[in-house]
Symmetry: C2
């Protein structure tokens, strides 16, 4: 086409068969095999003197057949996917951890899915390796809450500790909730809740002396403070990372599942939001604050590299990814 | 802080000195040296059967002291930067090429800055290497227009061809304009225009038999059609890449410089927009079309990986980056 016209752009290439009429270049190859390999999922940025590495743990691609949200209809979910320029028939749930290098400590916030949860998740170890980080050098693991996609990566496939030298810090309220035999016994047999109780006990079995429980408000690493963002789970925690004038809020699962959808629909309850109304209150409170004060936000389930700003948009929100910087 | 409060989040970590009170982990290191290395700048996605690799050529970071736009005041530029969550005192101009693997041909659209233009640009060769692409295997280079950040990468530091086996395709109108001795003689001595004339002749010197001139509407590679988007330069060209149901428009410099600012301010004229009003008409026509038809767009000066959608927002536009997929 010689001009910008809708017809031309939509019609595709007139006479694509003409490809065979192209002059072969001197270097024409028999074929150009596809690389079929994605770039490694890590990205670095600075917060004050701290170096943050966003690490991707992969993606779970679920077919969309019924609404995964308790208070949204399938058609509403499809409309929200379309409005967000995501495929309408699929839920792509991505997982991103943040590694904080404070200059004195390497602190990893959450650990991803771990092994055995499918071929396209559990990529944290590979992406850490691509980023040049040896799991043995990690000093501290801080867990936000006890869902499997956050604690699964504490163990390797053979049950060993994935980060053998790290102290493990967990929210005291989260530990209290999931380790309570009464809570476990009340979870309906076969439910996700019951399965999660069992998974928590499997992961933490025998780790008593490695695990430290922290309270909201505590400093869980140099310049890293635990913040109450309960609702998603009883002990769900976010983190404020502060260095000099720099500030980052790591929101964990304040928006879970396909996080972008919850920005447009902050009232929705994801399956994993154990207290839906409280999760909504937490979400609005945090987003109203970071939008007003323009605080940089890292989100576990936002698209990699999962760091950016929140804009208020009427009664909902918009995620503005931070511009990727090719240099540090 | 134990609750989400503005005061707490803004105040930073109360008693950061308490860091020294942390229990040292068993593995405590003396220090955690910063990696100080950004991830490689490449990203892959599919358009129908084609594999596209977005490649980053780096970033030029200019101090913002006067408005770089002919019809915008410094304060307006600063306000637009702030609204876009970019630093107010700096213009970060990023450069991104698209490599199209059609299955039979490797086609590179534009070549970046090339050597000698500063330490943070000219990263195309390194990022191609990271993506596993040998420059010798590239069959075709298609040039959108003759500014230095698009043609500079045709040559290595010692003046050799950076892509020795590639046919080079250039817009016939662009060639005619820049190779015209009258146009060159009319460019004011010492101007960017005069410098660009000289640079064009340096780059293309002795390449007569390697260079093919194409017309708008021509197929410049299998399924890749040249589209008239003049205004930025007289022969400025964008590309429609079509494979099966997949479609991508590679917009080149329809928005140049800090492209995000032109989405909010489509009427602005960048220094490089040789015919400002025509550049504005082209911009609006293209963006109105891709917004209405939800066509995926790749932009040379958009933040890496520089691929996404355009939303209409009143009389301006918004860029919605495509969600990064960890898998292909």
């Amino acid at each position: 086409m010689s001009k910008i016209t809708r017809r031309a752009a939509l019609a595709g290439v007139a006479g694509a068969g003409a490809a065979s009429g192209l002059q072969p270049s001197a270097s024409a190859q028999a074929a150009a095999p596809a690389a079929a390999r994605q770039a490694a999922g890590f990205y670095r940025y600075k917060i004050g003197d701290y170096e943050i590495t966003a690490i991707n743990d992969g993606v779970r691609q679920d077919k969309l057949e019924t609404s995964p949200y308790r208070n949204a209809k399938l058609e509403e979910v499809q409309a929200a996917l379309e409005a967000t320029f995501l495929p309408k028939n699929q839920m792509s749930i991505v997982f991103n951890q943040a590694l904080v290098n404070t200059g004195s400590k390497l602190v990893l916030l959450d650990t991803g899915n771990g092994p055995g949860r499918g071929p396209t998740v559990g990529m944290l170890p590979a992406n850490l390796a691509a980023a040049g980080v040896d799991p043995k050098t990690i000093d501290t693991i801080v867990i936000s809450h006890f869902h499997g996609d956050h604690i699964g990566g504490l163990r390797t496939a053979d049950g060993q500790l994935a980060f053998p030298n790290a102290e493990i810090k967990v929210p005291a309220r989260e530990w209290a909730y999931w380790m309570d035999d009464g809570n476990m016994s009340r979870a309906p047999e076969g439910s996700n809740l019951a399965n999660n109780h069992r998974n928590v006990r499997r992961i933490f079995a025998g780790l008593g002396d490695k695990v430290t429980k922290y309270e909201w408000g505590a400093e869980v690493g140099p310049g890293i403070t635990a913040m109450d963002t309960n609702g998603h789970t009883p002990g769900h925690t976010s983190f404020v990372v502060a260095s000099g004038p720099g500030k980052l809020i790591v929101q964990s699962d304040v928006t879970a599942h396909v996080a972008l959808l919850f920005l447009r629909n902050p009232e929705w309850h994801a399956g994993g939001d154990m207290d839906g109304p409280q999760a909504v209150r937490t979400r609005r409170k945090l987003y109203d604050m970071v939008a007003t004060d323009r605080i940089l936000l890292a989100g576990y389930h936002l698209p990699f590299p999962a760091v950016g700003y929140i804009e208020k948009d009427g009664s909902s929100y918009r995620f503005v990814p931070a511009a990727w910087s090719p240099v540090l």
